[in-house]
């Protein structure tokens, strides 16, 4: 599967069919700090992503000034 990390703009390839939660964990990302997007849908941790899918992991953390 193709995994795009935003806003870094990084593109990764992960092989095999995997659960969303496992993908996020394998990339060292803390659950709840990204949205996992496939097309126009959001995925929860228990869903599977197929080897042929493309997903986006979009960070939700922003900051700098209070």
């Amino acid at each position: 599967m193709q995994v795009r990390l935003e806003p870094q703009g990084k593109q990764l390839t992960i092989s095999g069919r995997r659960r969303v939660g496992a993908i996020v964990q394998s990339l060292g990302i803390i659950a709840g700090t990204v949205m996992v997007i496939r097309g126009d849908e959001l995925l929860t941790d228990d869903e599977f992503v197929d080897d042929t899918d493309s997903i986006e992991l979009r960070a939700v953390i922003s900051g700098g000034v209070w």
Binding site: G32, L42, T44, S62, G63, G64, V65, W66
Partner: protein, 309 residues
Amino acid sequence: MKCKRCTDKAIVQLRSHNAAFCKPCFVFFFQRTVERAITREHMFARDERVLVAVSGGKDSLALWDVLVDLGYETEGLYLGLGIGAYSNASERKTRAFAEKRGLRLQVVPLDGSEDGLAIPAVAAATRRAPCSACGTFKRHYFDRAALDGGFPVLATGHNLDDEAARLMGNVLHWQVPYLAKQLPVLFPTHPRFVRKVRPLFRTSELESATYSFLRGIDYVVEECPNSHGATQLVYKDILNRLEHSMPGSKLAFVTDFLSRGQPLFAGAPEAVDLGACERCGMPAAGELCGYCRLVAEVGRRRAQAVAHS
């Protein structure tokens, strides 16, 4: 995973609420959370015009979207900070959001303002961190715009994660005057200030990002280039790790502080009485307000640089 409200397939899981929601139920949940924050904290009434500070990011645009959907009378205020491509994209997306919905939007470009100073120029001249200058400028222009436009209230998109990180910073350094003022509603302490409210103080970044995504809000995903290494992000990282191990920690940290901690600091005396800035007339602790002091410093530094060249 099933929606907690209707048992349809869920699209978002909120561990902090021990819940998952489908799209319609999440939108309902998010809007209801914001509406309850507004009414329970007495932020503003139905007949009050609300000036919404918008940055083009997920939080402020989600807030504006909710307020419009709930039927509040709003106007947007966008401050052009002059931070290169980031500011250009932010302004473009904010304008597109307002135009698509037929909303009134004030755009104030800092480099085209009276003092003609954008954030990078201030940071370069004063050698201060850009975030420091940015905060001072934002507060000044927000206050001015609310006052000039006759708005009784200014709403910002600060979310639960912002509030938790700010609280952590204030507690780590025992910033008693700041702890006394860390509230979702700040009532004016001077006739030239307006009420400032944070209707998203109970909603997390995940929630506002999810809401924006589901509502088709095209927000700026890129981070401000000046935010790298910002202290707030360090606090957020620590809090997110804590949240991962103990879901609900951030919400409890902020809401328990507001109910049980903040009242203990509420009697802390203000550091100084506010007068009027000699230059701009806005509230000031001394002869000049923080904004005008910064502008004067830029002028001094530039004059010194010319003298030494």
